[in-house]
Each structure stands twice: as structure tokens, then as C-alpha cells.
Subunit: 361 residues, 2 copies
């Protein structure tokens, strides 16, 4: 039995994978694989429409927002956003709360002026920084709701009187977030939505209406909106599996229910990290993420040993990001609480094992 704590691409529900495999062989008894059908076939157009409806329903997306399916991951959004909404003579405000936010700042600087209105870089990104002054002439404010690498999460979002844009790659669909507070939300699919290869964008039409300069087609959100995300061939299979996964989420009570489950999973793991004398949490308590739980060992020399110990017990993907070190257990929607119990038991076993080893030395 594997317990997949990978940070993304990540665990998906077993029932979704079963259907996703079947569709590769023979999609809905069509005699064709989902991989070899035209994206312009009525049957696939229905998939796109159903996926959009599920997104709208599960996230309670207001009607005046477009729901778009793109390619290129969140990293492509790092440049598409300023390419659409930031011009040379303008400035945008960015929060520097983690490695991905930091990368988004670098990309925005190709297009206009960036003002970093808060940074926790000096504190190893262990907390979400406070937001400084954002003047009314700012094109938009950009933040990251969950910092996947550093394990911090924003639980409230500011009303600054300028458009609010947020990278929600790793916590979208994991908790209730009022979309109407935002002007644009984006997320790489490969956490709680589906397999890698697709990016979700929710964008207020009012924000799109502000774009007056020419934008190349594949970078222009309006082109995706006006072509139901099918200006060119979309990532067919990623969209299809996302639809299956969102159906699973809906059948399991939707976002409000999964949020309760996710809170319970995170609480259980953080409790063990605090209790267990071998480990400590990396993020400030007030900002620690419910999605990516980052922790280290007081005795750094033991980390490799614990990794092997955990791997032998079926734990997958708990090594921390290469620049952050330590461990990271990602508790995405499809991860069952039994997997968290298994990891907690593993940490407790390792504690006993260490005491024994120590006794023997």
C-alpha cells in the first residue's frame, strides 16, 4: 500500500483513475480511445462544457467570470497576466511570499514596473508577509494563496481597491474561497483538479474589458473566452480527467465538505510534528498550510534515514523541495486520512526506533 504525499502531480482518487484508464481503452463504448477523438466532436465539446459547469458550481464562480482551460501551467500565467494587464508605463504590486511568487515577479518585469509590497524572503518564507501600501494607480495586486514549497497559506485576502489576482495552484478546490473577491484566479491543474497539462483561469469580464492593446492570440484571455477554450487543440485528456475528478469531488460533498476533511488531516499531522521530539514545523503557526505540511528533524543527519524508513513503509513523495530541504507531506483532496494516520504512525515508530538505537549506542 502506497501513501502518496507528492506535491504535484499528485494523488487522484482510485475511482477516477479507474474511469480514466477505461476511457483510454474505449471511451464510453464509443469504440474509440479518448486519446484519439477530435476535440471538435460533440461528445468532447460536452466534456468541456461539463467541466466548466462543475468548476462554476463547486467554486461558486459568479456569472460575470469566464472559466478558461489553458496550457503551460501557472508559470505561463506569470507572463500572460502582465502581458494582458500591465503596460510599460504602469506598475503592479506583488507579494513575495515564496519561490513561485518570486518567479512571477521576475516574469512581470519583462512587461512593466513591479513594486514588491511585502516580502518574507529574509525569513526563509516561513510566513506570509504583511502587505504594505498599494496606491490606487496600481494595475493589480498579485499574491499566491498557498506556497507549495514553503508550506504557508493565506487565510484572508485584502481589499486594496485595485484588481486582485491570485495564484491558487495548490489550494484551489481544497477549501471555500470567495471567488467574487478576486478579479483573476489561476491554477495549474496537477494538484486538486487533475493531471498535469492544463491550467484553470477564472477571470472577471470587467477586467478583460480593460485590455486595449494588441496581445498575441495564444496569450489573449479573450481569445480563450470567445472560443470556449478551443481556439486551438486543447489538452483533451487533462480536461477529461479533471471532469471525472470534479465529479468525484461533487459526489463527496463538494468543497465545503472536503475543507473539513482537509482541516482534520492537517491538524492530525501538525499535532504529531509538535508532539514528536525529533521533528519541528518549518512555517509560522499562524500561516502554516493545510495543504503542504513542511517539517524538519532537529538532527539533520537523521533525515536521510527517516526518508528510507518511511519509504519502506509505503510513504511516497515526502522529501522536501530541493531548496527548502526537510520533508513535505502534501495532503491533497484525494489523500485519505488513513494515509495521514500511517505517516503519523511511521513518525512514532521512528521515534521509538531512534530511542532504541540510542539506547544501544
Amino acid at each position: 500500500m502506497k501513501h502518496n504525499f507528492g506535491a504535484g502531480p499528485c494523488i487522484l482518487p482510485a475511482s477516477v483513475l479507474e474511469q480514466a484508464a477505461q476511457a483510454v481503452k474505449n471511451w464510453d463504448n464509443s469504440g474509440l480511445s479518448i486519446l484519439e477523438v477530435s476535440h471538435r466532436s460533440p461528445k468532447f465539446e460536452e466534456v468541456v462544457q461539463q467541466t466548466e459547469e462543475l468548476v462554476r458550481e463547486l467554486l461558486e464562480v459568479p456569472e460575470d467570470y469566464a472559466v478558461l482551460f489553458l496550457q503551460g501551467g501557472a508559470s505561463t500565467q506569470f507572463s500572460m497576466i502582465p502581458q494582458n494587464f500591465l503596460q510599460k508605463h504602469q506598475k503592479a504590486a506583488y507579494l513575495d511570499a515564496g519561490l513561485f511568487g518570486h518567479k512571477s515577479i521576475k516574469e512581470a518585469r519583462y512587461f512593466g514596473e513591479v513594486e514588491v509590497v511585502g516580502s518574507s524572503a529574509g525569513a526563509a518564507y516561513a510566513m506570509v508577509p504583511e502587505i504594505g501600501t498599494v496606491t490606487k494607480d496600481t494595475a493589480y495586486f498579485h499574491c499566491t494563496s498557498n506556497n507549495t514549497i514553503e508550506g504557508t497559506e493565506m487565510f484572508t485576502f485584502p481589499d486594496l481597491g485595485v484588481p486582485l489576482i491570485c495564484d491558487m495552484s495548490s489550494d484551489i478546490f481544497s477549501r471555500v474561497i470567495p471567488i467574487e473577491q478576486f478579479d483573476l484566479v489561476y491554477a495549474g491543474a496537477q494538484k486538486n483538479m487533475g493531471p498535469a497539462g492544463m491550467t484553470l483561469v477564472l477571470v472577471k469580464n470587467e477586467l478583460l474589458d480593460t485590455v486595449k492593446h494588441p496581445v498575441p492570440s495564444m496569450s489573449d484571455y479573450r481569445i480563450y473566452r470567445d472560443n470556449q477554450s478551443m481556439f486551438n487543440t486543447p489538452p483533451v485528456y487533462s480536461i477529461y480527467v479533471a471532469m471525472l475528478n470534479l465529479r468525484w469531488l461533487k459526489a463527496n460533498g463538494g468543497v465545503a465538505q472536503i475543507e473539513k476533511d482537509n482541516i482534520a488531516k492537517a491538524a492530525m499531522l501538525y499535532a504529531e510534528i509538535e508532539r514528536n521530539p525529533l521533528f519541528y514545523g518549518m512555517a509560522d503557526k499562524a500561516h502554516r498550510s493545510r495543504v503542504n505540511v513542511c517539517f524538519k528533524m532537529h538532527d539533520l543527519a537523521k533525515e536521510d534515514d527517516f526518508l528510507s524508513f518511511a519509504a519502506e513503509r509505503g510513504m511516497v513523495g515526502i522529501k522536501g523541495y530541493r531548496t527548502a530541504g526537510g520533508f513535505r507531506a502534501s495532503l491533497y483532496n484525494a489523500l485519505q486520512i488513513d494515509s495521514v494516520k500511517a505517516l503519523v504512525a511511521c513518525m512514532q515508530d521512528y521515534e521509538k526506533h531512534s530511542l532504541l538505537s540510542y539506547g544501544n549506542n
Copy 2:
């Protein structure tokens, strides 16, 4: 029995689909789905490496070319190419030989000056136009090797003394093309390479070395090259299935063998189109594509009836592109000659059926 003549996403070999489905359930007995593994896992890094090696071997890619896997389809390349290689004060030469070439021209104009050095637009793109004068100060010359919508194909490529860039989306891996004649080749994967969601780029390092201006990361070919196509999360499943499909191609004799098969398939279908008094080919004979065979009926009013007749006999995806009309039978690598025989038989049966109907009226 379905005969899938779809223009893309298109038919893939049954054995590839079988393995692709198995990997979604349990990848190589890892206990994990290919959809839920980290792209940074050694096992997936090996997939990327193997896919690159297969591309290099099958296409005989010279060593000084980078092999890159991107997202966004060929349409994204329409803007990435000028973004990298065409600056405001420069001009590039484009061949306008079909709808996709036409789109690439529009996108290039966001970045610099475009000179259309040949166009068959006035002749409904029924042939590949002759190439006019290309001056030595031209940044590059861009063409499309196979026009998927119009059913024409280039069989020779010019040496113009400027970098040669080619969209090979629909005929790459279908015939032997000397890559060393080109400076950059690109192709959406969803024809002869794999499922939608991935784009292949082959680019000469020398061309990349000419880029001196700042380019946003996700549009910068050098970033993909220097990060083995993993600057961010790649389209994991599309790459994996492409690897399986290229293995199949290699096991079946490689590109030289498949080219012979493809020539035979196209010859068989064109022969019937010429013989059958109800049909005629849309492309000029000298330029007609071996990949996308486009044809019409002399009696336009019968086209819907033939479509239904063919659909009842298992023919899938033979309706022409919406702006081109008529029929299009795509003969990609995985399409067996038996499917072509079935289509020919269907056309012959329809001919008999029409004569009978005519006799009854």
C-alpha cells in the same frame, strides 16, 4: 469496427493505447498511476530522456539540435518563434500555403515585419505556392510542410541562405525529412507523435545563440533546453504516451518503413478518388498530401448522404474542415491499410447504391 480517419487528435496504435491505459491504473507495477507521479521522480525523468532519444534516432536529429517538449500546440509556436527570432526592426519571410500558415503570419506581425513571399490563398490553397525572392537580411523563412486542412504537402524545401523554420505538425514522423536542412522544426504532438497537449521543437543551437534580447521564461527556448524541458511541470502523460508511440514506430521499422506504407495508403485512396465518377480531389496533383486526403463530390447535395452512408460502415472523422467543406481522410501512421480498403469499398458501394437509386427515380 471503427476506421478512424480523424485529422487530429487522431488514431493511435491499439497496443499503445493498451499500455497507456495500464499505466493510468498502475504504472510498471509501481503501485502508482502515471497521472500521480512527480515529474521530478527519476522514473519520469527517464521517460523524458527516452522520448528524446527516440526522437533523435527516428528523425536522425543532428547532435547540435536541442529536442524540446513544450505545451500550447503549434499555435503557441506561431508567436514564440517571432518572439525569439524577429525583432521590431527586422523582417521575416512567410509562405502563405494554408489556414495555419496564414495564422502564423498574423501572429508574427505582433513582433516584427512580415513579408509574404508566396501565397496560394487566391486559389483556395489548392497548391503550395512558389517561393518569391527572399533577401539575405531576412530573419528567417517560415513554411508549413503539410497543410492539414487543404491537403497539400511540400516535397522539397528551399535553401534560401536564411534560417529555415517549418511547422511539421501533420507530417512529422510520416516520412523521411532531412532535419539538418532546417534551423527549427515544430509540431503539435496530436498526429503521429501522441495525444494532444504536447509540442515537439527541434532547434539548432546556433539559431538559439542569436537571441540577444530578453524573452519571458516560458517563451524562451533556451530555458527549455537548459532545463531538459522541465523548467516547470511538463505535460507528463502526453510525453509518456508519445514515448510508447515512438517505441511502436521504431519496432515497426521506423520512419523509412512507415513512409512506404503511407505512400501505399495514399496511392490507393487517390486512385479511387480519380476512378470514382462521384468524387474528385481538391488539391493539385503535384502537391497533394499523403497525410490528409481532401476530396469532394461533384454533386454537393449528396455529401451529407455519403457521410451518413460512410458513418454506418464505421468511417470516423472524414468530414472536411468547416471552411474547406467536402471530405478529408487523414492517413496517419497508425491507420492500417485495411481501413483505407474499407473506405475505398465504401466509396464503391456508394457508387453502386447511387446508380441503383438513380435507376429507381
